[in-house]
């Protein structure tokens, strides 16, 4: 079995329900509690196993920074370019609110990688990947809080619990999905159950007939940063191409006549 998630970027509305449901379930789950620091203070922070980032994606402009660039390569020190051009040497060009741009919400939790470096770098054996279903877990009793696994994770999936000094990460709700006391429809991760737009699908990627496998094939599910070679399990379904939304035309019609037209339309109903 290769359990994981498919996340539909077309329908995700970025409501953070998955993250809060995750926090609620897991703070009293096998790896809980997930402590918070100054939860009601000015700068509240804490351990989360799922975070949602929002991006602007503009298909009209291909990002030059995305392509292998030769620009800075000729210089001995990239820092020289940075120091003279400022952060613009690293940042891309502006997007300018083009109609082809789209807001994409991207929830990210552990990708349950097949080649999980977070497991191999762990010196204590606290991090492990289950052979039977591929879930990567942290044994809270063995972790010494060295942070090395979080350094080895490219997806920011691991967060140190500042209060307990041990590493926390997504468990794929391992304490839910096998619970025989729950009705079968609820044997899913908390984030999947809570998603109001059903943008999150849980299943076995080893089974070609499972919903996650089918969705990945039909909608060309993407792995994030495949070039690092971690073989992440989770897949992201790109937004459907719906074309541009026409902008409203501006008219010079006086407000009074607009009001009359609107009133007539209302009465005609």
């Amino acid at each position: 079995m290769k359990l994981g998630l498919v996340i539909d970027l077309d329908t995700c509305v970025g409501c953070h329900a998955c993250a809060t449901a995750c926090k609620q379930w897991n703070t009293s789950g096998t790896i809980g509690p997930l402590s918070d620091q100054l939860p009601y203070g000015k700068d509240p922070s804490g351990s989360w196993l799922n975070r949602i980032r929002t991006f602007e994606v503009n298909k009209a402009e291909v990002n030059q920074a995305n392509l292998p660039s030769e620009g800075c390569g000729s210089q001995v020190f990239d820092l020289h370019a940075l120091a003279t051009q400022g952060e613009s040497a690293l940042a891309g060009v502006g997007v300018n609110g083009s109609p082809a741009s789209k807001t994409v919400h991207m929830p990210m939790s552990c990708m349950q990688c097949e080649d999980a470096d977070c497991v191999t770098v762990c010196p204590t054996g606290a991090s492990y990947k289950r052979e039977e279903d591929g879930i990567v877990l942290v044994d809270q009793d063995k972790c010494m809080g060295c942070n090395l696994c979080s350094w080895a994770c490219p997806y920011g999936a691991r967060e140190l619990d500042e209060e307990q000094g041990v590493m926390k990460k997504c468990t794929l709700c391992v304490d839910r999905i096998y619970d025989q006391n729950l009705p079968e429809s609820e044997r899913k991760p908390a984030c999947v159950l809570s998603c109001p737009t059903s943008s999150r699908v849980f299943g076995d990627f080893d089974d070609p007939t499972s919903e996650v496998s089918k969705l990945t094939v039909e909608r060309a599910g993407q792995a994030l940063m495949p070039e690092l070679g971690y073989k992440p399990t989770n897949r992201y379904l790109p937004p459907r191409d719906k074309g541009e939304v026409a902008a409203m035309e501006k008219t010079n019609e006086p407000a009074l006549s607009k009001l009359k037209k609107w009133a007539n339309r209302m009465i005609a109903r």
Partner: protein, 312 residues
């Protein structure tokens, strides 16, 4: 990456300690002259103290120290575990060697010789493991780089050579020309390797915000990171010193770690101005500290792509 003082102190100080011990034992094994037992024990004590202080400091950054003993359990997969094992194995080897030297009043028997070679190998392995902890991390291209481990090794042996020269002056009252020349050669090699390293990390490479989000054929930028206060991820990975400051510190590092020790070591050789070698040592130590700080400050973890960076 946020530079953690305990880790900077650990890698620099342990590196010098192991470097000194490698020179001390190495020279003893190669040279035909009789060993001065007292001098060996004093210099060895200094080396071992530095290595130990560094190792103790490395445990300070652990958030859950009571489980530190478990770190020896994953020798087969984890470089951190290997480093822990080698650093621990080093103690009985070097102490047995020192004891035999003491008991035999400096005579090298076959057993002493074997232990000496073994101690050098284990010290080398420990420093290599330290380098590999960083070099094995794929999400940080400034670390996942074939020059990183050789640099850790070079800096350890180079700074060890200078400290060895200082110890020889204190204990024997004269500057060892051969060790100082060796130091200068190693310093030159380290300098070339470090400049190559800067050249390599200066070239854009690796993951971009496009590959991080899966939109490789579009322009992508972060609108909202999803939190309004710092998180573990921003605290640990997002460290911005500013390019101008980093550049200036690079020059300062080159002056402290290379130019000043080079000049003072040449001064020592040419005019026998021995105290200069101590100033060279202090300058090199400060320079290496800065070098290690830059090693962290300039490292850009790919998780920064989810916090506003466009490329790694």
């Amino acid at each position: 990456m946020k530079p953690a003082f305990s880790v900077l102190f650990f890698t620099v100080t342990s590196g010098i300690g192991y470097g000194l011990l490698m020179w001390l034992v190495g020279v003893q094994l190669i040279s035909s002259a009789a060993v001065n037992v007292n001098n060996f024990l004093i210099a060895g004590f200094v080396g071992l103290t530095l290595a130990t202080l560094g190792l103790l400091s490395s445990t300070l950054h652990l958030a859950n120290q009571k489980n530190a003993w478990r770190a020896f359990s994953r020798f087969r997969t984890s470089w951190l575990s290997r480093e822990g094992v080698f650093s621990l194995v080093y103690y009985p080897v070097i102490l047995a060697y020192a004891l035999l030297i003491y008991l035999s009043k400096g005579e090298l028997s076959l057993l002493t010789y074997t232990l000496g070679v073994l101690s050098v190998l284990v010290a080398l392995a420990t420093v290599i493991c330290t380098g590999m902890i960083y070099a094995s991390l794929k999400p940080i291209r400034q670390w996942h780089n074939p020059l990183v481990t050789p640099l850790y090794l070079l800096f350890s042996i180079t700074s060890g050579a200078l400290l060895y020269a200082c110890m020889l002056y204190v204990l024997e009252g004269q500057v060892s020309r051969s060790i100082t020349v060796m130091f200068l050669l190693l310093l030159a090699v380290s300098f070339i390797a470090k400049m190559l390293y800067f050249r390599v990390i200066g070239k854009p490479d690796g993951a971009t915000i496009g590959s991080a989000t899966g939109f490789s054929q579009a322009h992508v930028r972060l609108l909202d990171a999803g939190h309004n206060a710092d998180t573990f991820l921003t605290k640990e990975f997002v460290f911005d010193a500013g390019a101008m400051k980093l550049l200036r510190l690079r020059y300062l590092m080159i002056i402290l770690a290379f130019v000043v020790p080079l000049g003072l070591a040449i001064l020592t050789l040419a005019w026998d101005i021995a105290p200069a070698i101590f100033i060279a040592m202090l300058s090199l130590y400060a320079g290496l500290f800065l070098e290690r700080w830059l090693f962290f400050a300039e490292a850009r973890h790919v998780v920064r792509l989810y916090h506003g960076d466009q490329r790694a």
